[in-house]
């Protein structure tokens, strides 16, 4: 083997080295460390004791963790079952070539995504305020029987969060659906029209199968985003809200890691959430393959 050939053998590794170094330092090692940490009970970063799977066992019997998971699942279900159909409906309306001012409407519906979540949370805390909040004032004006002291942020925390998220992400998801709808083969729709299919039949048998891959991807993204919910309720409710009604899994992780200083339990919560999201990703993969077949 000549010196030049030997030299060339190391060139690809030299090019890969910066990426590998960054991968190991910033991704692989922190992941490994968090797995180890999830098997320790800690008090701050310096004091810890190995406890095996005790943190996971504790979580399985912890009512607060289950409450957080229930709240987060409620929010995720609201996101998928309300937000995505609204986004699809908007996209269908704005995909029609005969609608005037389509670009303006698209901009208007997308505009909430340009505002930061913290800002939106503060805005909605004003809007859902008792007595003086816009929602209660409007509903009371429209129907005097409606109680202006309706406690949105005290007793109906999760529906309020779903409404706020609908306002923020409805237009954002609409853009994905719009992109999917613009790729639907027009010849297929025309062929269905020639065959006598009405609008609903065309939507069900042509549009839906055509947009299914992107739609399942949007569902997955929406689920992952919903299960990582933190800043919206944290600012809107100044914490977990009354009786932990707005407690989410990531907020519980934050409370355990930073307020209780138990980084081990926080890591265990993080890994539990990662495993749950991993299951969703596997289901998505299975659905994608099934639709390809």
């Amino acid at each position: 083997m000549t010196a030049t050939t030997q030299h060339n053998r190391w060139v690809p590794y030299a090019f890969l080295a910066p990426f590998l170094v960054i991968l190991v330092i910033f991704i692989a090692y922190p992941l490994y460390h968090s797995v180890v940490l999830s098997m320790k009970q800690t008090f701050g970063p310096s004091r810890s004791a190995f406890v095996g799977l005790e943190n996971f066992r504790f979580l399985a019997s912890d009512p607060l963790f289950w409450k957080a998971l229930k709240n987060t699942t409620y929010f995720a279900a609201g996101s998928v079952l309300i937000q995505l159909p609204v986004s699809l409906g908007l996209a269908l309306l704005l995909n029609r070539p005969d609608v005037r001012g389509r670009a303006v409407f698209r901009l208007i519906f997308f505009s909430p995504s340009l505002v930061g979540l913290v800002f939106v949370a503060m805005m909605f805390s004003l809007i859902f305020e008792k007595n003086t909040g816009l929602v209660n004032v409007l509903l009371h004006d429209m129907s005097p029987a409606f109680d202006p002291e309706f406690p949105w942020l005290q007793q109906y925390v999760m529906p309020t969060l779903v409404i706020a998220a609908l306002w923020i992400y409805g237009g954002f998801n609409m853009i994905y659906f719009l992109a999917a709808l613009q790729n639907v083969d027009k010849q297929l729709i025309e062929a269905a029209m020639v065959d006598g299919a009405n609008a609903w039949q065309r939507f069900l048998h042509v549009t839906i199968p055509a947009i299914r891959p992107i739609a399942t991807f949007i569902v997955l993204l929406s689920l992952i985003g919903s299960f990582q919910l933190f800043d919206l309720p944290y600012v809107l409710l100044s914490g977990a809200g009354p009786d932990n009604q707005g407690l989410t899994v990531v907020m519980y992780l934050f409370q355990m890691g930073w307020d209780q200083q138990d980084l081990g339990l926080a890591s265990a919560i993080g890994w539990s959430l990662a495993m749950l999201l991993g299951i969703f990703a596997l289901i998505y993969r299975w659905l994608s393959r099934a639709s390809e077949d």
């Binding site: 309306l93 909430p112 909605f124 809007i127 816009l134």
Partner: protein, 54 residues
């Protein structure tokens, strides 16, 4: 006509729902205790107080 209404009425209602929170925020900025009350100098706030509010 009915077809046009079925397109534009939902669009306009949703436009209103999207824009009202922004408008509410802007209005509340010009009232005492409003959102931007603490970030604007008080002299500016006094001159910008929304009519009919204290």
């Amino acid at each position: 006509m009915l077809r046009k209404l079925s397109i534009y009425v939902p669009l306009l209602v949703l436009t209103l729902i999207t824009l009202v929170p922004f408008a509410y925020l802007v209005c509340s900025a010009f009232t005492h205790g409003g959102f931007l009350h603490f970030t604007l100098p008080s002299r500016v706030m006094v001159s910008l107080v929304w009519p009919g509010t204290n």
